[in-house]
């Protein structure tokens, strides 16, 4: 844990000069080349032509909560979806691994953005193809800014969940598919806010893993990191094969589980 925090602190320091700068196309391109090497080294990422699209506000009102929508070609045999916020201290926001009950037509979530940045969405198919798309977002301070507004409530509600059926889902959904939004109450402390008195960082405690099943069949498993917003929210579509069960594990290995019979709270 200590070495991880140290790494985070170091990344924060490295990230600081990025915050104030204007768009620098050369630096941004170099940053993505580095990230692409680290995250997708052995794969050729083809620029998407309709296979995958990424939406986010050009200028976010709240850098700690930037809504992101990834839309995917329903014909694509999707295996995984990667979301990257290039200039964040932890650039890989998360990886969605889709299971047989998934209908990966659209995925929405909310992310932190620490500096003006490109965002990349990368789709991996079951037949080994890779597609990438990107978008530029103007927002800053979303990782180092204090986000939790009511600390007492955050701990009291820790691990609670809500599931809401989305009446108007994305277009192109197959018959019988359902779209739902999952809310997970978790402060997602990213370990980047320094306590002035102790000179220590508020310990990181964030959602690491979200596994969603419909009946016994996997919808998706999300491997997440500190760039997901406080109280993670995920909108997704799936084929109902029984009650929806959700298991969340955080970086302290605390787990929270709930089985939803319908629109429900947990």
């Amino acid at each position: 844990m200590t070495s991880r925090l140290f790494a985070l602190a170091l990344l924060l320091v490295l990230a600081l000069p990025l915050q104030g700068r204007a768009e620098d196309q050369t630096a941004d391109a170099a940053r993505w080349q580095d990230l692409r090497q680290i995250l997708f080294a052995n794969h050729t990422l083809a620029p998407a032509k309709g296979q995958i699209a990424l939406e986010a506000p050009d200028r976010a009102m709240d850098a700690a909560l930037v809504p992101v929508t990834v839309t995917l070609d329903p014909g694509l045999p999707l295996k995984a979806l990667y979301l990257v916020v290039d200039n964040n201290p932890a650039p890989l926001v998360g990886t969605f691994h889709f299971g047989p009950a998934a209908v990966p037509v659209q995925v929405k979530t909310r992310v932190r953005v620490d500096a003006y940045t490109h965002m990349h969405a990368v789709a991996e198919t079951t037949d080994g193809r890779w597609f990438v798309t990107d978008r530029y977002v103007k927002a800053a301070g979303g990782c180092s800014a204090p986000a939790t507004k009511d600390a007492a409530l955050a701990m009291e509600r820790l691990g609670q969940m809500r599931l809401k059926t989305v009446a108007e889902g994305p277009t192109g959904l197959p018959k019988g598919a359902v779209t739902a939004q999952l809310l997970i109450s978790h402060p997602n402390y990213n370990g980047m806010q320094m306590d002035q008195v102790t000179r220590n960082y508020t310990p990181a405690r964030f959602v690491r893993d979200v596994t969603v099943k419909s009946g016994d069949t996997l919808v998706f498993q999300l491997e997440a990191d500190i760039s997901l917003s406080e109280d993670p929210a995920i909108t997704f579509s799936y084929q109902p094969k029984g009650p929806l069960s959700v298991t969340v594990r955080d970086s302290t290995d605390a787990t929270f589980s709930h089985v939803f019979q319908g629109d429900d709270k947990g």
């Binding site: 104030g20 709240d62 909310r110 103007k138 507004k149 600390a151 809310l183 806010q193 002035q196 709270k265």
Partner: protein, 315 residues
């Protein structure tokens, strides 16, 4: 432009002004208002923090008793605090025995360094120390950038020595101040000061006038607290931003309307199945034109409100 937006994000309650910097220091010219016998308010500029205004953007001031002085919010930067202290010593030779923070925001707190030599009892909400621990360094860094890079210029808090979790009475000699702490509202470290002698309520940022309220605590909590404050026998209030005083409870009307509109519009959006993407641009638009800095902060308030109210059980 990047830097400007960054700074707004960094210090969202005191981001940079969109207006060009003023030539002279605004705060140095503004005079104290004695809103009631012995109660002095220095109204802040209704703008975001700039190098020109020295973050003197909040209403700050002090109350003078028979034996001692209590400062309520020491100012937004070291220089802002030093100016306030100079004004106090020009009015009275009594010791500055108490320093009270109405909440954790930097425009109210960072001037405290100017009072270190007075060794005051520092009175704050029980949550203040933890909240300042989480935020203080970030606030100082953000303000230092605006003021020109020197962290000393940004000032600092003095650590609280008296934590208030419900109420505390402070005796200034023949003058009793009732300090009350609240659950999450404007922030999760709000407290008010009530002077019975003049029936004056010092509300801090639980009350905004003219400047758009900034939601950094709990929307429904804030409305609840506002209801409690309206029930007090106060005849006047000192808001955290806006004029030095307003009649009470009439002075609550604008803020209550704004917060109620946020709740109503967000609940309606949630009921329609709307997404948080829509909140920033559609919620509380009827309030546009009624508040300064509306465009800078309403969208953020709307997102915060959505994020809180989406957890409510459907009616």
């Amino acid at each position: 432009m990047a830097r400007r937006t960054l700074i707004r994000a960094v210090l969202f309650l005191c981001g940079v002004a969109a207006a060009p910097p003023l030539v002279s220091s605004w705060a140095a010219d503004v005079s104290l208002v004695q809103v009631a016998p012995g109660i002095y308010v220095r109204p802040g500029a209704v703008e975001d923090a700039t190098a020109a205004n020295d973050d003197a953007i909040a209403n700050i001031g002090f109350i003078v008793g028979r034996d001692a002085v209590a400062v309520i919010d020491p100012g937004g930067a070291a220089a802002d605090g030093a100016r306030l202290r100079a004004r106090i010593t020009a009015i009275t030779a009594l010791p500055i025995r108490y320093l009270i923070y109405t909440h954790v925001h930097p425009d109210h707190v960072l001037g405290a360094v100017a009072f270190a030599a007075d060794h005051p009892v520092v009175v704050a909400h029980a949550r203040f120390a933890a909240a300042w621990g989480e935020r203080g360094a970030y606030y100082r860094l953000g303000l230092a950038r605006i003021l020109g890079g020197d962290p000393a210029q940004a000032g600092d808090a003095l650590p609280p020595t008296q934590a208030v979790d419900t109420t505390v009475d402070i005796d200034l000699g023949g003058r009793m101040l009732h300090v009350a702490a609240y659950g999450a509202a404007h922030t999760d470290s709000d407290l008010t000061v009530y002077d019975d002698q003049t029936r004056t309520l010092w509300a801090g940022d639980l009350l905004f006038q003219d400047r758009i309220p900034a939601l950094d605590g709990s929307l429904t909590g804030w409305l609840t607290v506002l209801g409690q404050l309206k029930a007090l026998p106060a005849v006047r209030v000192v808001p955290g931003h806006g004029p030095a005083q307003l009649p009470w409870p009439a002075g609550a009307a604008d803020e209550e309307r704004y917060l109620t509109t946020l709740v109503r519009d967000v609940r309606a959006l949630l009921k329609r199945g709307g997404d948080i993407d829509a909140a920033a641009t559609t919620v509380a638009q009827s309030e546009k034109g009624r508040w300064k800095l509306f465009d800078a902060y309403n969208g953020r308030n709307a997102i915060t409100a959505f994020k809180q109210l989406e957890w409510e059980d459907p009616p």
